[in-house]
Structure formats: structure tokens, C-alpha cells
Amino acid sequence: MDAVSLKSVSKHYGDKPAVAEVDLDVMVGEFVALLGPSGCGKTTLLRLLAGFETPDAGTISIGVREVARAGALAVPPEQRGVGMVFQSHALWPHMTVGENVEYALKIRKIPGPERRKMVERALDTVGLGERRDSQPDQLSGGQRQRVALARCLAMEPSVVLMDEPLASLDVHLRESLQAEFHRLHRQLGATIVYVTHDQSEAMALADRVAVLDHGRLQQVAPPRGLYAEPATAMVADFVGRGMVVPLDTAVPGRAGSVEAQLWGETIHLRSMRSGASMRACLRPEGLSLGETGIAAKVDRAVFEGAATILHCRVDRAPDVLLRVLHRAAPPAEGSPVKIAIGDGWLLPTAA
């Protein structure tokens, strides 16, 4: 069953499309990350789900209920039963931690004793049971975001929407809260739609990642699939900084493999059964230095601890830098090398 379903949803600001023809289904209990560079429309998409924006086209359903149909229906946010965690935590500064968590329950007219129990439980879940009577400004940044999470969970929403909840925290806090989100998601089985611009965060947390660019959905896939089989050049570049190179020819071979010509060298690429373009996505770990291969010169060797990344300038295409993962001692800068392509992916579309 789908917890959230968007059908060709579009939203324009003036002439500019913020979200264009997005189709997306999120299953119950699934953790979906909306990933993309700033201005790609991911936050607008989340606000469309929450009801703070109304779509110009398409329909949005939450559970079995349609909540928005362009021009016809717009259920206001307060009647959608979704929970939201904001980047700025958005705790009400004039209420204690407990009152913040209690607010939504009061609105739902849950009787006092039960309400207090729910507040306690929600705060215990995030490990802040002791801080019930604190003021939000007495808490640390990480604790505030935990309270915001408890506030959201206490109302037992059908969907939890998170708008870059970790963006304003420092690196260490971010990691510990990521672990906490992961645990809570497994433990509570909540459906979560999570906006982030940080690809490693999306990869670490999500069951599926939806990549957006210029308001359009580029690809929706599990993290591994996204990395290994990017649907577009944008995804290839944005996720793990893949190198997109132009091919001379590409001839479909046996199932799942393609023989292609790249700067005069014959290479083998993985590919989809259907759909092919004249571009490939290469990753540093799929390349190695060898006896034969693409002739290049070492431009720069960047030491990264476990390995060194060699930036090599291709002889046939001097404006292209290939990054090669190299574990042995690096060759001197400027020395000629041959680059063998062990693994690559034929991009399925020309986009």
C-alpha cells in the first residue's frame, strides 16, 4: 500500500517551474530521501505534501485519501495528519519541551492522563525524558532537534516529513542523529520523506533515494542502484561525482553488456536492456593503471589516506581529467600512463 502518492504534480512560481510533472509513490514504512542541489525543488515538493503549497497540476494522496487535486481540492496542512521536522527545529520558544510535544495532542483532544503518557513516551524514545520541563533555549542544538522529532512522533502521523533536519548541526551531531533516525525508523516503522542536499546522508538513511534536478525527478532507486546505475548524467555526476565521458560508438553485445569505443580504445560497459545513449559513467574505482588502455598524463596526485586519486589528463582529449583510484605509490606528476577501464556504465538516456 502507498503511504504517499504523487501523480504528475507540477508547481510554478511565476514562469519558473519549481516542481515539474513529478510521479512518486512512497510505500508504508518506507524511508525515501528527496535529494538534489539547492533550488532543485525538493523542499517545494515536501511543502506540497505538507499542504503549505498547492499544486498547479496533478494530484497528491496521503494513505487512501486524496489531499490535493490541482484547482479542485486542497486539504489544509492541519487536516492532513502529517508530521514535520524543520531544519530550524521550529520549537515554540514560549512553551516548555513537554508543552511543545503536547500541543498536537491537545488539539486532538486526547484526555489528560493519556496525553501525559504519550508525551513521556515520545520524549523517552528520543532519550530526553528528563528534560520535559526545560525551556527549548536551555537545550543544545542536537537536543532541540530530538525534541522536534519527539513532537512529530507523538502525534503518530501517517507520514513524517523532514526538511533537512540535520543541516544546521555540526558533523559529529549529524552522525549520531543519523544513527538515531535510522533506529527510530526501524523501530517505529514510520513512513518518512526526508529532504536533503547531502548525498551521503541520503545514501546512509534511505531505502530509496529520489533525485531531483530543476524540478524534475531524475531517478528513484535504492542507494546502491543509484550509484551503480545512474539514469542520467546529472545523477551520475551528483551522486558520487561520477565522470561522464562521450563515446565514439556503442554496440549492444550480450545481455547487460555493451562494447564501445572510447578515444580509440575498445571498452566494455554495463547497460540496461533497453535504452542507450552515447555517454558512459566512469568511477575512480572502476579505473586502474595498466600496460594498455587510454593514454594520459598524470596531472596531480591527491592523497586521500587509504588510496590516492590520480587526476590524469587524457592525451586525445586534453580538457578531460579522469580520476583513477590508485593504491600503490603514485607515479610522478607529468609522467605518461595508460588507463584501463574495468567497470563502467552506459547511460540509458541522452539527458
Binding site: 505538507a50 499542504g51 503549505f52 489544509p76 496542512p77 492541519e78 487536516q79 492532513r80 495528519g81 502529517v82 508530521g83 514535520m84 524543520f86 531544519q87 530550524s88 527545529h89 521550529a90 515554540w92 520558544p93 514560549h94 500541543y103 498536537a104 488539539i107 486532538r108 525551556q135 527549548p136 533555549d137 522536534a148 513532537r151 512529530c152 502525534m155 516529513l161 544546521s168
Partner: protein
């Protein structure tokens, strides 16, 4: 070096800046002069007032004892009651319009805001006069009132009710500004979080927005209350003829009736006023400090839609605002265009007689125009120069005692104007040492009092600009060998032109309309416009008073327009009517 040749190390001529007294001397001279002026103009009078009020007078009696009289008690009670009532009116009007403009999707917000802030530009005595004219005998508004409430011979606004009402209108912008700023700073996500939690618009308003705006409301209310306590223009025009006496008018009438012999007694009265004001201001700071801190960064200024009621609410808002701000001013101009009180304004009766009279025939008003212009310009120039020096050494150089002077400069503006006037009389009544002449009875005491009172208006934008300034500019100039005053004039000053101009124009504007301080310090030959409006009206020269007031309003609005041009690129809030 000029032809690009690299000099040999041994050939580099190092010019060592002259150190010691000479390089520090300029700083000390400039800062010392500013310090002396601030101490003599601002600090000394306040201390002198305190002494005069507390220490026994020549005949051995304590001035504070003289307060134990029925008239003082009545005036004190009237002050508190009318100030409280006017604060309630200010809160309802200023707060209501601030919420309407700040939080809803009402249209033409900037025009509405301008109308809401118009009373800031119109001084109390002119607002009071305008309302008198609007409801004078023979006006359509008075006819309506006579029909509804029955014919009264007295003006309906004379007395405590009128004083409270007009002061309430006059100070509503203070609450409007406080609430409007708080609405703008309100993070949207706090409202969105509440809506996601299931709260309706109405519930969001009452459980989230209003509680968060409460500190601003209380702080604005405290300011309105303090302003009402110190207000003189409104009770002078509406209270005195209605036999409704407040502390400010009581002080004025005593000093006017008995002269400097009652200075000790009025100083004691002034001290009471100053204490009331201090309590209000301390409370205001306390409320602001206790307010919960709002995160900044994300979008702010949440909007609640008015829905289908919007056109009706807009119509009501416009009608009310026009009635309260523009119509009285129109009535004022109308009253200046009729030959005598009670004559209806028609094409047959309209006349420029009053304007011609005050501009070309009646010498005191002619003098008043000249005096007010010169005094205001003088005050603007002196405060700008003084403010520049104080802000430079206080904010950029972080000299501790100059920062202390910054707080001292606030005092004469924080206390009610009438209190400052008494304090200046106390210091400058006696002949100056060495010179042997007294400033009292000359135009100079007005200039001194204006500078003391309005210094903070010129200082605030300059201090804010200095605080924002990149300190490395100043440090680079210092390494280049420029002395303090030289850095101030060649490096700092050019970047501050807009701040200086808008601050100076604000001082000019405020001084040009001044009544409270001038009412005690003016003398024959040294009349000011505020005093002229007041005395013409109380002498029964209604048309002349309206003409002077009308001209003043036009000049004020013109100067405000020029100041607005200078402040376009300055931080918001530099000019009070540009939030």
C-alpha cells in the same frame, strides 16, 4: 618607487610616524571637547535637577514637601489615569493595525503603514489642534456630535477624555512599530509547525503568534505610557481649557505664573515625572530581555489569509485610518482657510487672510518661523558633529568613557521634555562663569536644550553605522600613519554621509516641531513655532494658529521626504517612519 623600480633594502626610507603627545593630541582634543559639551549640556543639568529637588532650599524647607498638596495629587492622579487610558487606546489602534498589516494578506501594505506612522511626524500640539478644529463649532463632525450627544457649549475634547484619546492616537505608532517589527521577525516555521500539528489559523493566532508577540506588545506599551506621562502638547491644548491638569501642565503653569522662584518645587515635580518615566523604561528593557529568543535565518513573517472577509476588512481599515489621521489634518487646513471661527468653509468664505497675516504681518509668527528654522538647523549641525565624535571613539575605537557618554546622551531624551527644560534653567539661569552673562532669556538656552535633548537621535544611526563598519579600514589607515582625527575625517566620514544626513534631518524635524522644552525656555523675541501654535490658540487666534500649524505640517512632511531619500540605502529603522 614611481617608475616601478624595486628599491634596494638599504635605500628604503622608513618614515616613522611621530609618536607621543602629538599623535595622541588630536584624539584627546576632539574627544575632550565632545566630552565637555556632553557633560555641560546633558549630565550637569540632570544632576543639578536631582540636587535641587532633594536638597533643602534657601529657606530651609525641602522641595519634596511642597508636593503634598491637593493640586499636585490631582495632577499626579490625572497623569497616571490619562496615560494609562491613552496606552490602552494606543494598544488597540497601533497593535490592531500592526497585526492586520503584519500578519494578514491585506493589500496595499506600504501605504497603510505610512498612514499608521503619520502621527509620528505630526507633533502633539498640532494633532491636538487638528482634532479641536475637526470638532469645532460649525464643522459637520460637531453637528453630528451635537445631534447624538446633545448640544454642549464646551468643546467635546476639552478634558480628560479628549487628552487620553488624542494622546492615544499620537502614541499608537510606538506600539505599531514594536508589533510590526516583531511580526516581521516571527519565523514562519513556528507557524507551519503548529499547522502541521493540526492547529487551525485561529488557534495558531491565539496559541503561537500572540504569545510570541506579547513581549513586543508590553515593551511598546511601556514606551507609549512613558511618552504619555511626558506629553505636554496634548494636555496643554485640551487639558488646560478643560480644567484637566496633569503634571506637565502643572509645572508649566506654576513656572509661568510665579517665575524662577518656584524652581525648587517644580524640580521636585519634575523628579517625580522622571522617576515615572524611568520605571516605564526599565520595565520595557526588562520585558525585552526576558522575551524568548527567536531563531533567525529561515523565512519570517507568516501570513494568515483573511479569506472572503478581506474586502470588508480593507474598507474598514482604510476608513478608520483616514478618519483618524488625514481628516483631522484636512480640518486643520480648512480652519486656516476661513475668516473666523464658526464660519462654514465654502467657495465664498475661503480666504488666505490667515496665512498672509502670520507670514507677512504678525511679527511674532514671522520671528517664530525664522527662530525655529535657525535653532533646528543649529541643533542638527551640532548634534551631527557631536554624534560623529561620540560614535567614532565609542563604537570604533571602543574608548570606555566615550561609551559611557553614549548612555549619558540618552538621558535628556528619555526624561520628559519639561523635566529637561527645568534642568537646563537650573544650570543656565545664573550668569556663566568668566563671561558673566546668563543664557536664560536668550535663544542660546533653546539651542543648548535642543542639542541635549536630540543628541541621541543623531547619535543612534551613527553608532549603528560605526558598529557595522569594517574595522580593518580604520586599522589600515592607522598603519598608513594617519592620526585619529584624520582617520575620522578622511576614512570614516565619507562612508557615513547618508547616516549623518538622515540623523541631522531627523533632529531638524523634531526640533522644528518642538513645544515641550521650548514652552519653558522661550522668551519675547525668541519664540518658536510650537510655542506660537499653542499661544495663538490659547489667546483665541484660532485661524492664525491653524495657519501656522498647517505651514509647519507642510514643511515637516517635505523635510521628512528629503530625509527618506537620504535613508534609502541605510539599514531599516534608521528613520522611525521607515521600519
Amino acid at each position: 618607487m614611481t617608475n616601478g623600480a624595486v628599491p634596494k633594502a638599504s635605500a628604503v626610507r622608513v618614515t616613522v610616524p611621530r609618536l607621543g603627545l602629538s599623535s595622541r593630541g588630536g584624539d584627546r582634543l576632539l574627544a575632550g571637547a565632545a566630552t565637555a559639551l556632553v557633560i555641560v549640556f546633558c549630565l550637569l543639568p540632570m544632576l543639578r535637577l536631582l540636587m535641587e529637588a532633594v536638597l533643602p532650599s534657601a529657606d530651609g524647607s525641602l522641595p519634596l514637601e511642597s508636593l503634598n498638596s491637593r493640586s499636585v495629587f490631582r495632577a499626579g492622579t490625572n497623569t497616571l489615569v490619562s496615560s494609562f487610558a491613552s496606552t490602552v487606546i494606543s494598544t488597540l489602534l497601533g497593535g490592531g493595525f500592526a497585526l492586520l498589516i503584519g500578519l494578514t494578506d491585506i493589500r496595499r501594505k506600504s501605504l497603510l503603514t505610512l498612514l499608521c506612522l503619520l502621527p509620528l511626524l505630526i507633533p502633539s500640539q498640532i494633532t491636538a489642534l487638528a482634532w479641536i478644529k475637526m470638532l469645532d463649532v460649525g464643522t459637520p463632525a460637531r453637528a453630528v456630535i451635537d445631534v447624538v450627544f446633545g448640544t454642549e457649549s464646551n468643546h467635546p475634547l476639552y478634558g480628560g477624555g479628549g487628552v487620553s484619546f488624542v494622546m492615544g492616537l499620537e502614541h499608537a505608532p510606538l506600539i505599531f512599530l514594536a508589533i510590526a517589527a516583531a511580526c516581521r521577525a516571527l519565523p514562519c516555521d513556528l507557524v507551519e509547525a503548529a499547522r502541521a500539528a493540526g492547529a487551525s489559523h485561529r488557534r495558531v493566532l491565539f496559541t503561537i503568534i500572540l504569545p510570541l508577540l506579547k513581549p513586543a506588545l508590553l515593551a511598546g506599551g511601556a514606551l507609549a505610557f512613558v511618552s504619555a506621562i511626558g506629553n505636554f502638547g496634548v494636555p496643554a491644548l485640551l487639558g488646560i481649557p478643560g480644567r484637566f491638569s496633569v503634571l506637565t501642565t502643572l509645572i508649566y503653569q506654576r513656572l509661568n505664573g510665579f517665575g524662577p522662584s518656584v524652581l525648587g518645587e517644580t524640580a521636585a515635580l519634575g523628579l517625580i515625572l522622571a522617576l515615572l518615566a524611568a520605571i516605564g523604561l526599565i520595565w520595557q528593557r526588562w520585558v525585552i530581555r526576558r522575551a524568548p529568543a527567536l531563531r533567525t535565518g529561515g523565512p519570517t513573517g507568516p501570513i494568515l489569509p483573511l479569506g472572503t472577509a478581506r474586502p470588508f476588512i480593507e474598507l474598514a481599515a482604510w476608513l478608520l485610518l483616514l478618519l483618524l489621521t488625514v481628516v483631522p489634518l484636512a480640518a486643520l487646513v480648512g480652519a486656516a482657510l476661513i475668516p473666523a471661527l464658526g464660519v462654514p468653509l465654502t467657495f465664498e468664505t475661503v480666504t488666505l487672510e490667515n496665512f498672509i497675516y502670520v507670514l507677512t504681518q504678525y511679527q511674532p509668527t514671522q520671528r517664530a518661523f525664522l527662530n525655529s528654522t535657525l535653532l533646528s538647523a543649529g541643533a542638527a549641525i551640532v548634534t551631527a558633529a557631536l554624534g560623529l565624535v561620540l560614535a567614532y571613539y565609542g563604537e570604533l575605537r571602543r574608548w570606555a568613557w566615550m561609551r559611557a557618554l553614549d548612555a549619558v546622551a540618552d538621558a535628556p531624551y528619555a526624561v520628559p521634555g519639561i523635566v529637561l527644560a527645568i534642568a537646563e534653567i537650573l544650570v543656565f539661569l545664573k550668569p556663566l562663569p568668566l563671561l558673566g552673562v546668563s543664557l536664560y532669556g536668550t535663544a542660546w538656552i533653546l539651542l543648548v536644550a535642543y542639542v541635549a535633548r536630540f543628541l541621541t537621535l543623531a547619535l543612534r544611526p551613527l553608532a549603528a553605522a560605526m558598529k557595522q563598519m569594517d574595522p580593518t579600514m580604520e586599522e589600515a589607515a592607522r598603519l598608513a600613519g594617519a592620526s585619529g582625527p584624520r582617520r575620522l575625517f578622511s576614512i570614516i566620514l565619507p562612508g557615513l554621509r547618508a547616516s549623518i544626513m538622515s540623523g541631522a534631518l531627523l533632529v531638524f524635524l523634531t526640533a522644528f516641531n518642538e513645544l515641550t522644552v521650548s514652552a519653558l525656555l522661550w522668551s519675547r523675541g525668541h519664540e518658536t513655532l510650537g510655542v506660537m501654535v499653542f499661544s495663538l490658540q490659547s489667546e483665541g487666534a484660532a485661524g492664525a494658529a491653524a495657519a501656522v500649524a498647517s505651514i509647519t505640517v507642510v514643511v515637516t512632511l517635505a523635510v521628512a521626504g528629503i530625509a527618506t531619500l537620504f535613508a534609502r540605502r541605510l539599514p531599516k529603522g534608521t528613520l522611525p517612519w521607515m521600519p
